[in-house]
Symmetry: C2
Amino acid sequence: MSSPKVIDQDKKRPRGRPKGFDDAAAKDAIMMTFWQNGYRATSLDDLVKASGAARASLYQSYGDKRGLFIAAIENYSQKFADWVTQAMQDEPDTVLVLERILGASVARLTGGDMPDGCLRCNSTLEMAGADPLIDKALKTANQDFVDTIRRPLVRAAERGEISVQDADRLSVYLTALVNGMVVLARSGADESTLQTIVDDALVQVKQA
Amino acid sequence: MSSPKVIDQDKKRPRGRPKGFDDAAAKDAIMMTFWQNGYRATSLDDLVKASGAARASLYQSYGDKRGLFIAAIENYSQKFADWVTQAMQDEPDTVLVLERILGASVARLTGGDMPDGCLRCNSTLEMAGADPLIDKALKTANQDFVDTIRRPLVRAAERGEISVQDADRLSVYLTALVNGMVVLARSGADESTLQTIVDDALVQVKQA
DNA sequence: TTTCATCTAGACTGTGTGGTCTATAAAGTA
DNA sequence: TACTTTATAGACCACACAGTCTAGATGAAA
């Protein structure tokens, strides 16, 4: 995120005029804009302003509004997967990894530094079934989320701490809870309310 | 729903030309339309067609698109509350009432006879924070849902079966799970997957 | 320096939208 | 039969939007 960007990488620069904006930063800005407003309430002008890229450049890079949205969803998914990879490296204990993941979710859902809700959940309820390509991206993102939550549980299963069946079952169960907390948070639930839910859910995990 | 409508009730008929559509049926049709498409993707033309009412009549009755939407949300909330009232009359046992509620949710989320998802959840993730009046209606609807789920639990507490604290805690917990299942269902989860979640959650309830 | 590929700035266009307005139809009341 | 009230049908308007296009800017390659 805040790592010093390597300017002028060795990668050969293409022929024409160089972009006047940073690709990765623009991608993040586009993600944040869709996250903030939703798909339909985001205009191309919003994306142009947020990304710093020219309108035509966005069309050049992403095809159309739908392409921008799908890229945003993929970007969002990837960030979560990367975060969990890091958490699993930092924390060997399964329950503590899950505590971190769920605790970070609660913090983010109730903290003011990010847009409300979750781009994946927001988008799923706004757009599932409305467009084939978006639908596919959403299905992938939702499956990726379950798979990502599942990773620490699979590690626990490999260690013989729980069964593979429990890993599967719990990963879906915890996904449901996180998804549900997103809706609760957007309807005004505070941090302690959500944390109580997480604590109750972890009891479920520890019993497995 | 399909009960024979009493035509020409005793209520004195107002002076002017009578409405060419059924008020209650129109209200339901409006609810279904918003449920199907979401707020922003629903046009006034959609609502005119679905309700059978004239465009001007809708504006006369509801003020504007936002008023139509808020009425739809209130209508939706009321239907759920009525359903639970009935279920509590039919079934005295607390856990069995909750089983019915959650089971019906699973059936509806995976059955094809209703629009996808849940109008309350869909609308919350699409519109929370976007408009003050809609926001208020959504907060009310979400609080009503928790309160409605809470009713069988409060009845159990009054009977001394569980503590009031557990009733409060579990009502929020189960709300989170239902909300979460809505997202899961819209991302393609099948009935048995959701039913497994419900079964796991009911274990939690029985332990209280 | 010229050429070529790419990016930029923003004008432009067709379509769809929420909301209003007008003319008319259908009922009750006097 | 007039008069009043309410609903209907649909034309109408101003606006916002996604997407396209054009003219010019910028840099590498020749």
